[in-house]
Chain length 231, copies 2
């Protein structure tokens, strides 16, 4: 049995909205054509083909034609509709980064331990992070691209501050899991890293907790809201 042709989908949908599920509804091919942005001839052909394949039934009274959708037609539309729907819902809901643990948990430690930051971490993240950041070197283009698009998504904003001598930039925090451990991926206003490095903070010492060391492969997942942003 030939499947429902894809170009017939909108025609069938239009018939549904016209109420043709149970009742035969009178319809002209020219109005149908307009509804689907095709010609009268195309609409006519669609109906002929849909009938031939058993997706609709037609009834003629002289010039008047009424159309009803069969159960087969209903089932087929339901199938297509749920394929689309479930594909849209199958969104994994997270951005994924793959990389390896790089160099030191050192440089960031000093800044991240400053009171101006830790106070905010406590209230906004719910914890004061372990002193030190974990640097992960992203190894593929996909992950680097993912980091770029991260910017556009809503984050927990830790504001910058001044200690009188100098100012410290803001920190965007994205709750994340790294190899299953809760953490936060952070984007810094002032960073000395290039796009291929991401930094993470966590309540615990991630290296110890996961038994990982420099060079180990890690996967970071940042759950996404249903928000639309980016490009």
């Amino acid at each position: 049995m030939p499947d429902l042709k894809i170009q017939h989908i909108l025609t069938l949908a239009e018939l549904f909205t016209k109420g043709a599920r149970y009742n035969f509804v009178p319809i002209t091919t020219s109005s149908l054509g307009k509804s689907i942005n095709k010609s009268q001839q195309a609409a006519s052909k669609h109906l002929v083909e849909l009938e031939a394949s058993g997706y609709v039934e037609r009834l003629r009274s002289g010039q008047r034609v009424s159309v009803r959708i069969t159960n087969k037609g209903y089932a087929e539309m339901l199938k297509i509709s749920s394929i689309l729907k479930s594909s849209l819902e199958s969104v994994p809901g997270h951005l994924e980064f793959k990389g390896t643990i790089s160099s030191g948990m050192g440089e960031g430690a000093y800044y991240m331990s400053m009171k101006g930051y830790t106070k905010q971490f406590k209230t906004k993240l719910g914890y004061v992070p372990f002193p030190g950041t974990l640097n992960v070197k992203l190894k593929d283009k996909e992950s680097i691209e993912a980091k770029r698009s991260l910017d556009a998504y809503p984050a927990i904003m830790v504001d910058g501050f001044s200690d009188g001598k100098r100012t410290y930039g803001w920190v965007k925090c994205y709750p994340a899991k790294i190899n299953g451990i809760n953490a936060a991926l952070i984007l810094l206003e002032r960073t000395h890293h290039d796009d291929s490095i991401v930094e993470l903070i966590s309540e615990e010492n991630i290296k110890k907790a996961t038994n990982l060391s420099t060079g180990s492969k890690v996967t970071i997942r940042v759950p996404m809201g249903t928000k639309i942003a980016q490009n």
Copy 2:
């Protein structure tokens, strides 16, 4: 801006299920082709065209290609999906019959008043019908066809019985509204009517309640469940 071509819908859907909403996912055109029941070349062309129209982005690392769906692509898919979904939900949910009141409320009265029936009407419909049936002559093919398909839908079954002398056939009742008045359309096992006549019973005297007389136009609606039956 050119709308999403319908032949690209399934390709996009496939990309969604592969998780390409947020992340760039690696994919080969031949596997994609298989998934959409098209050739490798067709899949390749789809990706090229989808990218050109801004529905996806691609990332190449040598031969490896990764694909991500843009917000524009997501929005477009959402649009299509909801068009289909809402068209399926716009089912009016009733079979409609148009016709005129015909001849007598007489013939049926005797049978419908028999205890073997009235007892069942009371328990199954919740009332004992006014003695007499209302006959409606269906005037268009659509309504006659609707009557035929009614058979396939679930009904309230009033069983036949015997009074010792003879047997009386079953009666299928379909709760209905006739010009807004609650009634039941009935199909009789043994009827002397042709397909163009439907009979109705009601707790009240329909003619009086609606101020209708022989020849008046009426509209009967029989609400449908979400059941699939018929052809």
